[in-house]
Amino acid sequence: MNKKIQRSLAVVSAATLLFGVSAVSSAGAAQKTVYLAFQAPLTGANALTGQDELTAAKFALSEYNATNPSVKVELVIADDQGLAEVAAVVAPGIAANKKVIGLIGPAFSGATQASLPAYKATGLPMISMSATRVSLTDKKAPVNGFPIFKRVVANDKFQGPALARYAIKGVSSPSVYLVDDKTAYGKGLADYTKPSIVRDAKIAGSDSVPENTSDYTSVVAKVKASGANVVIYCGYAPDAAKFVKALRDGGYTGIFAAGDGVLKATFPNNAGNTAAEGARLTAADVPFEDVATAAQMVAYTKLTGIKVPGSYVTSTYNATNIFLTCIKQGVTTRPGMQNCITAGSFKGIAGDTIKFDRYGDIIGGAAVGAFTIKAGKIVYLGVA
């Protein structure tokens, strides 16, 4: 009798457990949606950067959704115009949105700086795809992003020396003229490039030409007067195009080198093939079309209508995938996401390993790639 009762009890409890479990899992099988936020300039003067990056996030998400996952992921798009004052009102809004468990971005360093208070207060993990200001991950900086800020792009401390090295490679008695565009990005990169130039070559002169200047003739005059044979420009593609054109038209025949802000199709397109030919560019970001498979490129073009991806598409894709990987592992909360990202090891699309150090940079530093322009096309040469 006892055994019979025991056995029936066992059967009943097993049945209860089974039903109970299936009841729980069927409740779990009901579609859950988590939200990732995306913060970048989508309107305003810097809209180009944000719009390019957004395509990458959307593409990564489309690949994820195509696998028919149990947890749906949706994007909350926040336009901060790349400006600190707009970020200061957008960030609190995103931070207060309890459904958002991770932030892709912000794209610009200034906007990141202004967003930090809100995100730190609510513990929202951030992975930036293009904010390269060193102080954000510098443990000695008065305000850094610890613990929530991570980035998948090499900061200026790595890119600067690489740029200097690459620019003077193969030049006998290099005499360098350093120009920046007075933006936080350009000035920051120039500050980190300068020590390497001073150490390995000679500085012929320097100048700061504010962004969006049309006329570069006075700078060209100064470059010519200084006798420099290498010009390093720290800024963005549209201005670099104007500058290199003015240099070549002015009769400058030396090397022209620039950082990742110039690594966009806009540069050779706007400068013209002849002026841009042979320019040496470094980037902490590899062009997406060089690392994606052909099938992925087709899918990307189908989704976005763009044939040649813009800048930081690879890093945004990587950043989004890091979040998605954690979500696939079952993360649904901010603390969970924070732990997953901090401790985890991820794979970038180029096959590289991404693991973050304590303050948010990639361990081993993100690789800095060297590029050149041949016949109007960006050509990847290898690690700088």
């Binding site: 180009l48 969006n212 049309s214 006075s218 010519k224 007067a225 195009a241 104007k242 013209g272 093939n273």
Partner: protein, 317 residues
């Protein structure tokens, strides 16, 4: 302070400054003529200029089907391409100027609004133009193809006489001269001067005020469009936000020369263009705007009506 650059590149900087100055002058005519007639700042002129640069590109690439990386043109094809682009840009800006007047100023004029109301209205039109172009171009810069090969006539005292620089200067002089003759000799030109001297009396003399105002905006647009063409030809690139800096420089030119004074604007532009080049060379490009504004303040302190004064009661245009 980098003075050696000034020594070795003096004439080169002067030449470039003059060429740039002409572009400023042509845009400033849009401000100064409207001010002469309406006593109002035509704030939207900077965006009219910006639209003109895109019109030039549209003319060269869209209508005449030149590719961005195509070979430069020569001979007859070069001449008619450039002329067509120039005229297209001028007309687009001219009519846009008239449209701006109709939308931003006409109604407020009939209601007798205060000057500040006009300013805000013009600013609103400015925003609308800027944003429309920004949305249409996806915030991307637009290049114009190198149709004109930038060969040089030769160097003289360190100054490189490139064909585009020379072209800007010569065309600028021609346009300015034509405008000056128009305003002093023709009936319509005299009507404009009459209105700028006194609206009341002009009305009594039977001058159709609205027509004159529209004409003024049209002419201002024409010169601004020409400036846009030259700008695009020389710099070969444009973006939705080029208007602000150039508009500010042009407005400064107009004030320096004495706002409302056509000939004063001419000298103001030359002065400003050269000053900018020198300031960039000596102090560094980041101090260019500060230098310009400081000089402006100093000039206005000493000569409150601009270098050539406003000539309000005298013969002026």
């Amino acid at each position: 302070m980098n003075l050696q650059v000034l020594e070795s590149q003096f004439w080169s900087l002067c030449l470039q400054g003059v060429a740039l100055g002409f572009i400023y002058v042509l845009i400033s005519l849009g401000y100064t003529m409207v001010y002469g007639v309406l006593r109002l700042i035509n704030f939207a002129n900077s965006e009219v200029f910006m639209v003109g640069t895109f019109a030039t590109v549209v003319a060269q690439v869209g209508i005449l089907q030149n590719e961005t990386n195509s070979q430069s043109l020569h001979g007859f094809r070069l001449i008619y391409t450039l002329t067509f682009a120039l005229i297209f840009s001028m007309l687009v800006c001219g009519f846009l100027g008239v449209l701006v007047e109709l939308v931003a100023y006409r109604r407020l004029r009939s209601l007798g609004a205060k000057p500040l109301g006009f300013l805000i209205s013009a600013i609103a039109v400015s925003i609308v133009l800027l944003e429309t172009i920004r949305i249409v171009t996806y915030s991307r810069p637009q290049t114009s193809p190198r149709l004109l090969d930038k060969w040089s006539f030769g160097e003289f005292a360190g100054a490189n006489f490139r064909i585009d620089t020379v072209m800007v200067i010569i065309s600028g002089i021609v346009i300015f001269f034509t405008l000056d003759r128009f305003v002093t000799k023709t009936r319509l030109g005299k009507a404009i001067r009459a209105v700028s001297m006194s609206e009341e009396i002009s009305k009594l003399m039977g001058i159709n005020l609205n027509r004159v105002v529209s004409l003024t905006f049209f002419i201002g647009g024409l010169t601004t469009g020409a400036a846009a063409f030259f700008y695009t030809t020389v710099y070969e690139t444009t973006q939705f936000n080029v208007g602000f800096n150039l508009g500010l420089a042009a407005f400064t030119t107009a004030v320096l020369g004495g706002i409302g004074n056509l000939r004063g604007a001419f000298y103001g532009g030359m002065f400003l263009g050269v000053l900018e080049q020198f300031a960039s060379a000596i102090l560094g490009s980041q101090w260019k705007s500060v230098t310009v504004f400081t000089v402006l303040v100093l000039v206005l302190l000493l000569k409150p009506n601009g270098i050539f004064g406003e000539a309000v009661q005298q013969t002026r245009t």
